[in-house]
């Protein structure tokens, strides 16, 4: 099936099997391997990307469902000149990553939340719920929590 995905502002005209999930198409067809697969059942959130600004588990969405939609992945987070996104700076500063495998998912999750509602940072419960929606096995989460608050305050 022919589809067009607009990924990080660039159009990708693709011919994909309807059964292929978005994460596989981003990784294999668009060669954007920053989106990682941790469970393929929608639990861990490592594959989180933004579709029309909304955070989704790209392992649970078919690529064909995203035809014509705007997708943002971790590769599109920094500015065009490579200037880091506030979340990228904050994650580093707070040691919010160790192995880095879950990190793109947390970044996109937080980017989606902060961009759609910057007021979220003022609501501790919502920020806690946000951090609690993805899995990380290295950091113990608190550094991720601090990083999101830090980025939000910039």
């Amino acid at each position: 099936m022919r589809i067009t995905l607009t990924v990080n502002g660039r159009d990708h005209a693709l011919d994909v099997e309807p059964r292929r999930v978005l994460a596989d198409v981003l990784r294999e067809d668009c060669r954007l391997t920053g989106t990682h697969l941790g469970c393929e059942q929608g639990v861990c959130g490592a594959c989180t990307v933004l579709v029309d600004g909304e955070a989704v588990r790209s392992c649970l969405l078919l690529a064909v469902q995203c035809d014509g939609r705007a997708i943002r992945t971790v590769e599109g987070l920094a500015g065009p000149d490579g200037t880091p996104h506030p979340l990228q700076r904050a994650f580093s500063a707070e040691h919010a990553l160790q192995c880095g495998f879950c990190t793109p998912g947390f970044l996109m999750l937080a980017a989606g939340a902060l961009e759609s509602d910057p007021a979220i940072a003022a609501d501790p419960e919502r920020v806690r719920a946000l951090v609690g929606s993805n899995l990380c096995r290295c950091t113990g989460y608190e550094p991720i929590h601090r990083a999101i608050l830090r980025a939000a305050s910039e």
Binding site: L37, R128, V131, L135, R137, T139, Y141
Partner: protein, 766 residues
């Protein structure tokens, strides 16, 4: 750092430019999917691969019978005679003898998920299409899921015992000791099976080129993998290059050579095409290695003043279906059974029992959590029986600082420590007395949810075992003035690039930006052990420091020759050489190399075994109606000697503490009676802690340098898995005052806690 990133690793990992195995593009790469037995134990009667070949995009499907040349994983390889034995204690030749672990099942299935066939396709979808069409017929045999069942049951390997390995540490204790003691606590514990669960599952890509094979693998020990693949495939090691690129966590589970790796490497060579296997989560939960898995019985004797007299630990470990991976690991528990106390008599015995489950293998802590948890749970009970403050009971028995090096009854020589200082800091950080007052207040109030405080003092071992306490480190000065450092380890998330670049730069007096670390590539690093046993800072760091120091000496010698001066007239500072007197110009490292040729130092450094230690303390509140445990506070005081990178150590302590909470409260692999793991819904059944389960955690440290390691460093990173579980369970025991400590079986699910809350109470109120 570019753009002000805190770690070297961060820029690529934060921008999607990390390079994990599944990210590597190998043109023409095929994908492997394994057909796995749903039956845990049975005779394999038939495998029908032909239908798989009818699925579009499937290039091949094979059972063991179709691949007569397919070799099997053997014993973890020791090196050639001139190289020290690699992993001396994980298993033994005797345990493995006569118990072949086939790469694909030949006659008998011994664990659920064991691979009976492999299918390769153009992509994972097609490979799985093919795998779904493969017919498998297994005639079931009764499954033996527990050690107790396997001790009674039929032989897993005809003619051989189900006990793969027996051992002991310490001398047997005279029965009179128990008879005469004022108090003897007896208890039984279960150290449940855990899934290490790195966020990246296993991943293996084999790329053949001519007579050579490049393997990309998410792995902790690339040189071991090369050595073992070479031995198994019968290829000279020089024809195999192993690269361990970015790794999405390992926690001990990624250091072996698994059957899937052998199959994929074999097929890649046979087909002359790249083949990869990217394990998915369901597959990982079925057949990745498990941690822990011990049934324990303990006896602990003390006099009326709470002085420990004797401790006995009896372990039946359910090590899984084949003894190849971790049959010897429970001996680590036996050797560490003494813990941090002066107990004069300690005896620990181990039986490693083969069962119809996937095998156990090191998982963060690896034998030491099992030792610490058994002892510390029992100390809690002893304090209750004596009517003594658990902190005071420990204080009376901790090995005092003046007694190091301390030879334990179980054969360890502890290098250094101030165990009481760590305990005192933990109590102070927690505000122990305030929480005890709150606990007592709640005990007097029938409407208040019970609260409990739990302590856990631990001592661990870092570096590895004798024969494996070495690591490779090399430093090379480049003509452009930069420096390349090479380390035989492989980072799985522990900030090696940041830490070791800074260490080498510091030794040379250079800007860290001028130093680049290369590791995880047998093509670039001559030799190596890898990342396990919390060893890399302790031993790899020492090798790099020494290599850098030797490089300075060699640079001075060269400059002395160049300037026709005695070497003591050549000074080195901040990466620059200059004569002690006179006006001759200074010479940078790069200029020296340009003038005198390549300058490179390779070192292999050996360290002693080190013994990090600490005290963890937890406060919990229990909802007795729901059986829910709420951790209100956790304090972790760890001592890893000299910390090379305190931020990294802090991160490791925090992350491992959360894994320790996971073992105490949430994680475990239940099996049904037929030997199938009861995790049909993946990570919805195997509950990793999320942020919602993380309590306020305070990490603190003391620092007692090790006298037996060159940098004074001890291992860091496993403390939480070792110290935290018993602290949490002891806190629940304190809250509920359960008479039988064995009732609080980990994980403390609501079901376990609800029942324990209704069980007979201990009488005493200390």
């Amino acid at each position: 750092m570019p753009h002000g990133y805190a770690r070297r690793e961060d820029e690529r990992l934060l921008t999607g430019r990390g390079r994990f195995v599944a990210d590597i593009e190998a043109p023409g790469c095929l994908e492997a999917a394994f057909v796995r037995s749903a039956v845990a134990h049975g005779e394999l009667r038939e495998v029908t691969c032909a239908p798989a070949l009818e699925a579009p995009g499937v290039l091949g499907a094979w059972s063991a019978a179709d691949l007569p040349g397919l070799p099997s994983p053997g014993l973890p390889a020791s090196g050639p005679p001139d190289e020290p034995v690699l992993l001396t204690t994980l298993t033994s030749a005797e345990a493995v003898a006569g118990r072949e672990w086939p790469s694909l099942v030949t006659e008998r299935v011994r664990y659920a998920g064991e691979a009976v066939a492999v299918v390769v396709g153009e992509d994972r979808y097609r490979a799985e299409d093919g795998a779904a069409r493969v017919g498998v017929r297994v005639d079931p045999l009764p499954a033996m899921v527990t050690a107790a069942a396997a001790l009674r049951g039929p032989a897993l390997f005809d003619g051989l015992s189900n006990v793969a390995l027996e051992g002991s540490a310490g001398a047997p204790i005279d029965e009179a000791v128990w008879r005469r003691a004022a108090v003897v606590v007896e208890a039984c514990y279960r150290q449940q099976l855990l899934l290490p669960t790195p966020m990246e599952c296993r991943a293996f890509l084999a790329v053949p080129r001519g007579q050579e094979l490049t393997v990309w693998c998410s792995h902790q020990m690339p040189h071991r993998l090369r050595r073992e693949l070479s031995g198994i495939l019968g290829w000279p090691a020089g024809r195999i290059r192993v690269v361990a690129p970015d790794c999405g966590g390992a926690f001990g589970s990624k250091s072996a050579t698994f059957p899937e790796y052998v199959v994929v490497a074999y097929l890649a060579a046979m087909l002359g095409r790249p083949v990869r296997w990217i394990e998915d989560r369901l597959e990982s939960q079925l057949v990745a290695t498990r941690g822990r898995g011990q049934d324990q019985r303990v006896r602990l004797a003390a006099d009326a003043d709470g002085r420990l007299l004797a401790y006995e630990l009896t372990i039946d470990a359910d090590v899984g279906a084949y003894p190849h991976l971790g049959a010897g690991l429970p001996m680590q528990t036996a050797k560490m059974a003494t813990g941090p106390y002066t107990t004069p008599l300690v005896h620990a015995t181990v039986r490693s029992v083969l069962t119809n489950t996937m095998m156990t293998y090191p998982y963060r802590g690896a034998g030491r959590p099992e030792a610490a948890t058994a002892l510390e749970r029992t100390m809690e009970e002893l304090a209750r029986r004596l009517g003594m403050d658990p902190a005071e009971l420990r204080r009376r028995n901790l090995i005092p600082p003046g007694r190091f090096p301390y030879d334990t009854p179980t054969g360890r020589r502890y290098d250094s420590g101030d165990y009481a200082a760590a305990l005192a800091l933990a109590l102070r950080t927690l505000d122990y007395d305030r929480w005890r007052a709150e606990r007592d207040r709640r005990r007097a109030d029938p409407d208040a949810p019970p609260l409990g405080i739990g302590l856990s003092c631990y001592v661990e071992r870092s570096g590895g075992e004798p024969g494996g306490l070495h690591e490779f480190g090399g430093v090379e000065a480049c003509p452009d003035g930069t420096v390349v450092a090479r380390c035989g380890s492989a980072s799985t998330g522990q900030s090696h690039e940041t830490t070791f670049s800074a260490l080498v730069a510091d030794t040379l007096g250079l800007d860290p930006a001028l130093v680049r670390l290369i590791e995880g590539d047998t093509g670039e690093v001559a030799d190596g052990m890898g990342s396990f046993a919390s060893r890399t800072a302790q031993i790899g760091g020492a090798a790099l420091r020494r290599a850098a120091e030797t490089l300075v000496e060699q640079a001075r010698l060269r400059a002395a020759t160049l300037w026709e001066l005695p070497v003591d007239q050549v000074l080195w500072s901040a990466g620059t050489l200059r004569p002690a007197r006179g006006v001759a110009p200074t010479l940078g490292l790069g200029e020296l190399v340009r003038a005198t040729g390549p300058l490179r130092v390779d070192e292999r450094c050996t360290s002693g075994m080190a013994f990090p230690f600490g005290t963890h303390a937890a406060v919990v509140e229990v909802d007795v109606d729901l059986g829910a445990v709420r951790v209100l506070r956790l304090v972790a005081v760890d001592d890893c000697g000299v910390a090379l990178n305190p931020a990294a150590v802090h991160g490791q302590a925090l992350g491992s503490a959360v894994q320790g909470i996971g073992q105490a409260l949430y994680e475990g692999v239940p099996y049904d009676d037929d030997g199938a793991p009861l995790l049909p819904n993946g990570l919805l059944d195997y509950l990793l802690p999320t942020f919602a389960e993380v309590p306020p955690i305070e990490i603190a440290s003391t620092s007692t340098p090790s006298p037996v390691t060159p940098l004074g460093a001890k291992g860091a990173g496993e403390s939480g898995c070792i110290g935290t579980p018993a602290a949490v369970v002891n806190a629940v025991a304190d809250a509920l005052r359960v008479a039988d400590p064995g009732l609080l079986r980990m994980p403390l699910t609501p079901d376990v806690v609800w029942r324990a809350a209704r069980a007979p109470k201990a009488g005493d109120d200390r």
